[in-house]
């Protein structure tokens, strides 16, 4: 088959959406690398421009998906037989995540103005290059329709995130990044091993193809190697998403890195990994294969329960805001993994997990932005140092409160609705332990955040001179507030807060979008 | 017959890996890691994965050992465990 002989209609921009999604930030990064070292001022506009392009493209893709169905893109035109080339795929499962990534990236880029280097602004272009490359990786992961391509892009995102985490000037940050490198490499290797095993049994790397083979060839689907492939892929992704026993790298990595890196990584990395897990479950192995034996499902849900409880309890023990938020991420990952594995008949758990990916991205971004602002403007890193800061920075306080309420799960915010769907799935599936864990974690969140509110709201002493009170060299010192334009932090924060509420109000529409792809799954209810 | 190669190379590979992990002197460890690269390259070549073997040859011989030595040079030479 010679692909270039096929008569194509005049190609519209619309057909090229998946490619543009990864190419725009890639070109942005390269241009910054070429020209940014000379003139640092052009870095931010280029970043913003390329991210805005991706935002537009993501929205256009969403429109396309919901109007005309999934987008399939075959790189290099290698379409037939399926699997020789690389297949990019956008459907309702991932298009919302694409929009979320684009939005988060745009918002955090504002926050990162003048915040990156602290001491060494010379590294500004490198920061933005890594930033854009991370976006490339995340977009690429999300649209990948090929198991190996997914691995390559996981590597892109991991390597850039190592760099972003270690960019601060603190030793602890570098050490945390090193831990992350070790764990991340192990995770990526596990994933690769799994893909290798899968390839040996199926002879293809294309997700659609693998799924076809596994559903039509029962002897292959039943083979040990495929099960082990699944196990390794799963464990690899779990390491990447910091699922419970494998979360060790996350708290330090996200709390000792520069604020703007944390704001970009915390909302996106783990969520995208969760998406990868769901994609692997839904599109590569197929849910009926994954849930064939209930024992595994029960085991994973129990692990998720432990993750939720442990994350919440460990969060209670923290004194630093960011660390606390990091442990909350661990708990939230437990929500999503548990939800995805509930195996209830209506797939409400999976729906909830997918919705929670979006919701949690927004909530985490909101809280990390607020924590970043507190750290930057007031040097407040420990919870006790927040005293009286709600009065000093009322808008930041508004954003923080909205994020916290969403985390607790107060109704108009998205956090409530994601929990609603997850609990619904839990009840349907009869996993009461999961329901109890969710509620317990909400309770602990309430305790945690109201403790912070109390300190920040009632403390009379305005925070000053907190910055020096650390034993180690601080990752970032408080700059005189005149140096940072306040809006760069507050604007993205308030937008995020608004998104949290909008996500909650329009949750029905969003869930309807998410369920488009789940409805298409072959008659799941009868098999489970 | 080429199977014999397999066995010998794999055994050597294990030996090289264990030695490079157990040696306390990091300079030696990084050089022994070079041997690991050689053997892997041989393994690929012997299995017919020539492109991979070539990559391993160029990286293993040209770059990786030097980078490791450069790193050891800027840190401690003795391993602590």
């Amino acid at each position: 088959m010679k692909s270039w002989n096929k008569s194509k209609p005049a190609i519209l921009m619309a057909d090229q959406l998946p490619a543009i999604l990864v190419l725009a930030p890639l070109f942005g990064a390269m241009i910054i690398g070429l020209a940014g070292t000379k003139d640092h001022k052009i870095c931010f506009p280029i970043t913003l421009a390329s991210l805005l392009v991706t935002l537009v493209v993501a929205v256009a893709a969403a429109h396309q998906v919901f109007e005309h169905g999934p987008i399939d893109y075959f790189v290099g035109g290698w379409k037939e037989p399926i699997g020789i080339g690389i297949h990019l795929h956008i459907d309702s499962l991932n298009v919302l995540l694409l929009c979320a990534i684009a939005v988060v990236a745009v918002l955090v880029s504002f926050f990162s103005i003048r915040r990156i280097g602290d001491k060494n602004t010379e590294k500004t272009p490198h920061f933005y290059t890594l930033y854009l490359l991370l976006c490339v990786g995340l977009f690429g992961i999300t649209i990948a329709g090929d198991a190996f391509n997914l691995f390559v892009l996981i590597e892109v995102s991991s390597l850039t995130s190592y760099g972003l985490i270690a960019m601060g000037s603190s030793k602890r940050g570098a050490f945390a990044a090193f831990n992350y490198v070790l764990m991340g490499t192990v995770g990526a290797s596990f994933y690769l091993l799994g893909v290798g095993y899968l390839y040996l049994k199926t002879g293809t790397l294309n997700m659609v193809n693998i799924r076809d083979i596994l559903s039509t060839q029962p002897e292959i689907a039943a083979s040990r190697a495929v099960s082990i492939a699944f196990l390794f892929i799963l464990v690899g992704i779990w390491i990447k998403m910091a699922f419970f026993p494998l979360y060790g790298w996350l708290p330090n990595a996200y709390s000792y890195c520069p604020s703007s890196s944390a704001c970009l990584l915390a909302p996106l990395m783990t969520k995208v990994s969760v998406y990868v897990m769901i994609r692997v479950m839904v599109s590569v192995f197929g849910l009926e294969w994954v849930f064939a034996s209930p024992g595994w499902s029960n085991l994973v849900v129990w692990l998720a329960v432990i993750a939720i409880v442990a994350g919440s309890v460990l969060a209670m023990a923290q004194r630093e805001i960011k660390k606390m938020l990091c442990y909350l991420i661990v708990a939230e990952v437990g929500y999503m993994v548990g939800g995805a594995w509930l195996a209830d008949e209506g797939l409400w758990g999976l729906t909830g997990a997918l919705y929670h990916i979006l919701a949690d991205a927004a909530m985490t971004l909101c809280l990390f932005l607020a924590a970043g602002i507190f750290a930057k403007r007031f040097g407040a890193k420990k919870i006790t140092e927040l005293e009286g800061l709600f009065k000093e920075a009322p808008w930041t306080a508004v954003g923080f409160v909205v994020g916290a309420l969403a985390m607790i799960g107060v109704p108009p915010t998205c956090g409530f609705f994601s929990k609603f769907y997850l609990i619904r799935g839990g009840i349907d599936a009869g996993h009461w332990e999961y329901v109890v864990a969710l509620l317990l974690s909400s309770l602990i969140n309430a305790v945690l955040f109201f403790r912070i509110f109390e300190i920040a709201y009632f403390g009379n002493k305005p925070a000053e001179g907190h910055a020096h009170a650390h034993d180690d060299e601080p990752a970032e010192t408080a700059l005189p507030s005149s140096e940072i334009p306040t809006w760069t932090g507050v604007f993205p924060l308030l937008v995020t807060a608004a998104i949290i509420i909008l996500l909650g109000i329009f949750n029905g529409e969003i869930v309807a979008m998410i369920r488009v792809v789940l409805e298409d799954l072959p008659n799941l209810a009868s098999r489970l | 017959m080429i199977f014999a190669f397999d066995i010998v190379i794999l055994v050597f590979l294990v030996i090289a890996a264990i030695i490079s992990l157990s040696v306390k002197d990091l300079l030696s460890a990084s050089m022994i890691f070079g041997i690991y690269g050689f053997l892997i390259c041989l393994l690929w070549a012997e299995m017919g994965a020539v492109d991979v073997a070539f990559t391993e040859a160029s990286v293993g011989a040209g770059i990786s050992a030097v980078l490791l030595v450069a790193t050891v040079y800027n840190t401690k030479r003795k391993s602590s465990d």
């Binding site: 107060v410 109704p411 009840i427 309770l443 869930v511 | -």
Partner: protein, 503 residues
């Protein structure tokens, strides 16, 4: 099957105080305008509520849909006013005006800080209260319930000192904690069980569903403990803790709004979610009955041992709330009616008592009962009102308390629960035991009492009545306690309407 009228009145009634919030904040420098706003909003609100009374008495139900269906859940946010909601709304909005008057006096008298915040959140919590009163389904009820918890938190922690923060912490952790841990799952379970219907209109939500005794009992207790504002016993300790709040807050919120919202929710759950038939069939109500009975007795005993007046009042409130819960749990027509009436009766009399406690604090700075001997001669109006309020709470004639208690006791007897009837009677005796001695000592102090008082720093002779803004409201409520005994028609009619609708 029921006459429903669509009207925006409940929405405006709810909004009246909500719209006052920005105005209050706006006028934070103009104290007079600020307080005027509060009063105007209060009267507007009362007017709107009263305007609905004829419609309700006509046997109709007012329904307003605010949001057609919350996205994703497909449950509308609906206001639905029936007899029960009406009683509660009247009581709350009327007492708000009095409390505002009282609060002005109290706050000025003590020169409190952050008064703007105080009045703003006060208005906000009233909106939430009316929202609960008018809630047409479980979701709406829950939303306003949580809104009330959050909007009263700044009021509870008004003093901002260590004690206030501790109290606030207990307050929020109990209220939010139980609602997250018990109420949400219970609501979700109901939602799934009923196939997405949470409305109070028509027959009870779960009336048709088949569930076992255990499921029913667990679900009922999850609801009751989830709405822990009702103060049932293992989850009651937020109430004494919240007494660190300024007295107007304690008065309105912890005698009327917050705690009554709790029992209101319990009544809604028993009548609207389960339905009397289903519960009677399952027999699950007995669990609730005994928990409530236990709470009644134990809280009365604890109240006896308290020396701090406000704490004694708080434990008394816990007991009285359990009367209401117990009445509903008996499932008898008479006792349910008694419960509904007791919402009004207890509100009027207990707020009098709280007003008195506050007035005493404003005038003398005293908090402890043992220091109040002989106070009746210095503060005759206050202590007189206190006596009348005590009568109302104990349920002695001539007070509205007698009517509600009569219904409760007769209902218990009719339902065949003699043991529970005895509980009512014992508790009434205990009530008398911990309230009447206060009044008695105030007017007829023992001989050695003044000596003890002399040890305090205040000069005994300087004590006068509290400022008129404090005294007038408490006189009005005391009068009401007695007056309603003679003219209870309105409340009786509304309660009848409600009882007949759930029967």
């Amino acid at each position: 099957m029921e006459n429903s009228v669509s009207s925006l009145l409940p929405v405006w009634a709810c909004l009246a105080s909500l719209l006052a919030v920005p105005l209050i904040v706006l006028f934070r420098k103009e104290i007079f305008l600020r307080e005027l706003t509060t009063f105007v909003a209060g009267f507007v609100k009362l007017g709107l509520v009263v305007a609905m009374v004829p419609i309700i008495l006509d046997g109709k139900v007012i329904t307003t849909t605010l949001v057609a269906g919350v996205s994703g859940i497909n449950v509308p946010i609906v206001f639905r006013v029936d007899g029960l909601g009406m009683i509660f709304a009247i009581v709350a909005s009327f007492l708000w005006i009095l409390t505002s008057l009282y609060a002005v006096g109290y706050m000025r008298g003590l020169k409190e800080h952050s008064q703007t915040r105080f009045f703003a959140f006060f208005a906000l919590s009233l909106s939430a209260t009316l929202g609960v009163a008018f809630a047409g389904n479980l979701l709406t009820l829950y939303l306003f319930y949580e809104m009330l918890s959050l909007s009263t938190y700044p009021l509870v922690t008004h003093h901002q000192d260590r004690e206030a923060r501790g109290g606030g912490r207990t307050y929020l952790s109990y209220l939010l904690g139980t609602s997250i841990a018990f109420a949400i799952p219970a609501i979700l379970f109901t939602y799934l069980q009923s196939g997405g219907d949470l409305s109070f209109a028509g027959p009870a939500i779960l009336a048709g569903s088949d569930m076992g005794y255990l499921t029913g009992a667990v679900l009922l207790m999850a609801f009751v403990f989830g709405f822990s504002k009702a103060g049932l016993m293992p989850f009651h300790s937020w109430l004494p803790g919240a007494m660190v709040a300024p007295t107007p807050v304690s008065a309105l919120l912890h005698a009327v709004a917050v705690v009554k919202v709790g029992v209101f929710c319990v009544i809604r759950v028993v009548t609207g979610v389960f339905g009397l038939d289903l519960l009677g069939k399952l027999g699950a109500n007995l669990v609730l009955c005994w928990v409530a009975a236990f709470t009644v007795i134990l809280s009365s005993l604890i109240a006896l041992s308290q020396d701090n007046l406000k704490r004694r009042l708080a434990f008394s409130t816990i007991g009285q709330l359990s009367y209401i819960v117990l009445g509903v749990a008996l499932l008898h027509e008479m006792s349910v009616k008694g419960s509904v009436l007791h919402i009004a009766a207890h509100a009027v009399s207990k707020i009098t008592l709280f007003f008195c406690a506050g007035a005493i604090f404003v005038a003398t700075g005293k908090k402890y009962i043992s220091q109040m001997a002989g106070l009746g001669k210095r503060m005759p109006f206050t202590m007189g009102a206190f006596f009348l309020g005590s009568l109302g709470v104990i349920g002695l004639p001539p007070s509205i308390g007698l009517i509600s208690k009569f219904h409760l006791v007769v209902g218990a007897a009719d339902a065949g629960q003699i043991a529970l009837m005895v509980v009512f009677l014992i508790s009434t005796f205990l009530n008398a035991l911990y309230f009447l001695p206060i009044s008695y000592q105030a007017f007829f102090p023992a001989k050695d009492a003044p000596g003890e008082l002399a040890a305090t720093q205040f000069s005994w002779s300087e004590i006068k009545e509290a400022p008129p803004a404090c005294v007038i409201p408490l006189c009005i409520t005391a009068t009401l306690t007695i007056g309603l005994f003679f003219a209870p028609t309105l409340f009786l009619d509304l309660a009848d309407l409600f009882v007949s609708s759930v029967k």
